[in-house]
């Protein structure tokens, strides 16, 4: 099913939501890529971290939301630690996740997780995963 | 309390004996019961009537201007020093004068006393329903006895207005500290009175102030009581240029109160003396409070009542609010 293209106003609204939830000024980012250079998960992402912000700046928020990148962000704060413009990318990724979750599109449901994973994984890991994904 | 008075007298004797000072300013009992008035002693004997207790006192700092020379003698070293009894609020006023270079700190001997609020006897009388004959204070409870009734009152209820808004209960730079400073009183910022006025319409505000100002008799008591008003010659007494004309008109009243308030904006220590001495009860504290509130809000100042080397209007920040 092709995604319905959103109107300009709707897009502006999502951007505003992202800024509100993250508390970050997304227009600060000048795409130096330092976040991506040091990101251990970037290799797995379909859209590189710095590009995620670029997409939002360009109004391509749907692309950003559809991408897998924010679910792969492990919130390790390496990007935030090094960002020369003091943009907290981890918060922007969180905003994208939160928007999806609040809009009823969580990444996983509890029943989807294999028993063996529940068995092996420390409680802390399970809790964090559900805090981020559901 | 007597204890503290004794300690003070001991110190005063010491000061006079060592000839450090030519004058000591403190308090003594006034004519009315529980009234405390300024006392000036040129030797120890004269100081013996001085007293420290918990009843309302006027601020003493302004007398320093007179006692340390002509008005605004400026920061010039004097051969003889003046001693002064100081609570936190007095200390703020003294600091006002020092920061304004009106007096030199070196010319002063400050005897500091801790304070956790003074009592307004008038309030006690009101609550008691008659004139109190005896008032005793025990920590936070005050016992007031009249001829007929007696009553226990919570000290909070009869605190001096000034003390309710106290921003400094410590004396930070005293030469002699009679007792250890207490912690600063827990005072939350209360601009509700100012906000009440802000809520009115422009029309209502103007009417409010017109009614207030029209009462003004231009006695200048507010100016004379104020430590921030420390010019050698007040702008209101200058005829060229004539900022304030002598006619009694509403517009002149507005002019007067505007200038007075602006001249202490950012410098007012919120002592409340101006309002107290006003014979026609103009709420001058509201005017000063408005400036204080705005300065704190607009220029990110924590407490716009503590005299600092550079005043809020003597500096700027590049990120001051943009309105125009």
């Amino acid at each position: 099913m092709p995604t319905k293209t959103k109107t300009k106003a709707e897009i502006a609204d999502i951007i505003k939501r992202i800024e509100l939830i993250s508390g970050e000024n997304i227009y600060k980012c000048y795409q130096c890529g330092k976040c991506t250079a040091g990101c251990v998960m970037a290799g797995e992402m379909d859209i590189s971290p710095y590009k995620v912000i670029r997409m939002i700046q360009l109004g391509l928020v749907e692309k950003a939301l559809e991408s897998e990148s924010m679910w792969l962000c492990a919130a390790c704060f390496a990007c935030r630690e090094r960002c020369p413009k003091e943009v907290d990318l981890s918060k922007i990724m969180e905003a994208l996740r939160v928007i999806q979750v609040r809009d009823g599109k969580p990444l996983i449901e509890p029943e989807e997780v294999a028993d063996e994973v529940i068995e092996e994984m420390p409680q802390q890991g399970i809790v964090s995963a559900f805090r981020k994904y559901n | 309390m007597m204890n503290m008075t004794e300690k003070m007298l001991e110190q005063i004797r010491d000061l006079f004996e060592k000839k450090n000072i030519k004058l000591f300013i403190g308090f003594e009992k006034g004519f009315e019961k529980f009234s405390r008035i300024p006392a000036f002693a040129e030797n120890y004997d004269e100081a013996k009537s001085m007293i420290i207790d918990e009843f309302e006192t006027p601020l003493l700092a302004k007398y320093l201007i007179r006692e340390l020379g002509e008005v605004g003698a400026g920061a010039v070293e004097k051969s003889e020093r003046v001693g002064i009894l100081t609570r936190g609020c007095d200390y703020l006023s003294i600091r006002r004068l020092v920061v304004d270079n009106i007096i030199l700190r070196e010319n002063l001997v400050i005897i500091g006393i801790p304070c956790n609020g003074l009592i307004d006897p008038k309030k006690a009388n009101k609550l008691l329903g008659e004139e109190a004959q005896e008032i005793t204070v025990d920590e936070k409870i005050v016992l007031a006895k009249g001829e007929i009734k007696s009553r226990e009152i919570n000290k909070e209820e009869i605190l001096l207005d000034r003390c309710k808004k106290c921003i400094m209960s410590k004396v930070e730079e005293s030469d002699i500290l009679l007792e250890e400073n207490m912690d600063d009183m827990e005072v939350s910022k209360d601009y509700s009175a100012v906000e009440e006025i802000e809520k009115l319409t422009t029309e209502e505000r103007y009417e409010f102030w017109r009614r207030q100002f029209d009462r003004c008799i231009r006695c200048f008591a507010c100016r004379d009581a104020c430590t921030a008003c420390n010019c050698r010659k007040c702008i209101f007494d200058i005829t060229e240029p004539e900022m304030l004309e002598k006619t009694v008109a509403t517009s002149e009243q507005f002019m007067f109160h505007f200038i007075r308030a602006f001249h202490v904006a950012g410098r007012c220590t919120a002592c409340g003396e101006c309002e107290k001495v006003c014979p026609v009860d103009i709420p001058l504290g509201l005017l000063n409070g408005k400036f204080k509130k705005d300065i704190e809000l607009l220029f990110d100042v924590d407490e716009a009542g503590i005299p600092a080397e550079i005043e809020p209007l003597g500096e700027f920040k590049l990120d001051d609010p943009v309105e125009w």
């Binding site: 509100l20 939830i21 993250s22 508390g23 251990v40 998960m41 290799g43 797995e44 679910w71 792969l72 492990a74 919130a75 390790c76 704060f77 390496a78 935030r80 630690e81 907290d88 981890s90 918060k91 990724m93 969180e94 905003a95 939160v98 990444l107 996983i108 997780v113 994973v117 092996e120 994984m121 420390p122 409680q123 802390q124 890991g125 399970i126 809790v127 964090s128 995963a129 805090r131 981020k132 994904y133 | -």
Partner: protein, 296 residues
């Protein structure tokens, strides 16, 4: 020095061996840990949303309790540490959040007066590393220990102020004080992929593998950590690596206090080695740090 202790969910369940080793060792360092009464899960991740403070309620409560106890709060799990310390930072710097939380929970306003400390920080504050040196009766001679910091201890540094975020040294100090050799491996500050492993195990492979290989390259005998999730991801990855890469030699992963217990000469049976996912005892034995009879 007395502290309130916040063990966190994992230490109370899956990784009891970690918790036990903490209790044994800390008392020997004059660090008295009293478990916070009625502590509550910290939430595992610090909420990164500016528009909602709900996630802070739980850590705020624990902090507030510690404050009521009149003590600073010590925790060990990296995640708990990150959440609690950031919450403390937030409430001490943001009056609005503070007000919101205390009003919501109907408690006295708490403005970050208590400190949140990682056990390592508590050691540093109490001259712990010198004390370790004194109290080590079984010096871990020739043992090459790779300290894996991970992310949650170090970042964001402006809030945690745990150590230099790019070139930390506290674990190294710890290791050296036990007489072991600290292995400097570059990936010690990189992330293991954390919770991402719940859905896509293969996606954290890159992260975990490079950490392990980086430690292996520097000939590490042991990796130590303070984070159960890192522990899990690194151990899990090794199970895969052993199968796919015949040259790869597994490196046991220990919680740092387990090693300390060993150095303090605590009976091997009480060090919790038997619950480790990769058995460390053979290598410890080969270094003569545990005797043949003790092992296995």
């Amino acid at each position: 020095m007395k502290y309130s202790y916040f063990p966190g969910c994992t230490l109370h369940t899956q990784t009891k061996n970690f918790n036990d080793s903490i209790k044994i060792t800390s008392s020997l360092l004059d660090i008295e840990l009293e478990e916070l009464k009625d502590w509550q899960c910290c939430g595992a991740v610090y909420p990164l949303t500016a528009d909602s403070t709900m996630g802070l309620v739980s850590p705020y409560r624990s902090l507030q309790k510690a404050y009521e106890e009149g003590t600073d709060l010590v925790t060990v799990c990296s995640a708990c540490y990150n959440v609690l310390k950031r919450t403390n930072f937030a409430v001490s710097n943001d009056a609005q959040i503070r007000k919101k939380l205390s009003e919501y929970m109907d408690v006295d306003e708490y403005a970050g007066e208590s400190k949140v400390l990682h056990l390592l920080e508590a050691m540093r504050e109490n001259k712990g590393f010198e004390k370790i040196k004194e109290k080590t009766i079984n010096p871990l001679k020739d043992l090459r220990v790779a300290p894996y910091y991970g992310c949650l201890l170090l970042r964001p540094s402006e809030e945690l102020k745990f150590d230099n975020p790019e070139n930390p040294t506290i674990f190294e100090e710890f290791i050296n004080s036990m007489g072991a050799i600290a292995v400097d491996f570059p990936n010690r500050i990189e992330c293991c992929g954390a919770y991402v492993s719940i859905t896509s195990k293969r996606k954290v492979k890159g992260a975990t593998e490079s950490i392990l290989k980086s430690a292996a390259k520097r000939n590490a005998d042991i990796i130590i950590t303070s984070c159960p999730l890192c522990y899990h991801n690194l151990a899990k990855e090794q199970e895969q690596l052993v199968q796919s890469d015949y040259l790869f030699k597994p490196i046991p992963i220990l919680y740092f206090t387990q090693l300390l217990a060993l150095a303090f000469g605590i009976e091997v049976g009480s060090c919790g080695f038997e619950s480790n996912r990769i058995d460390a005892r053979p290598i410890l034995k080969s270094k003569n740090l545990i005797s043949g009879g003790d092992a296995l």
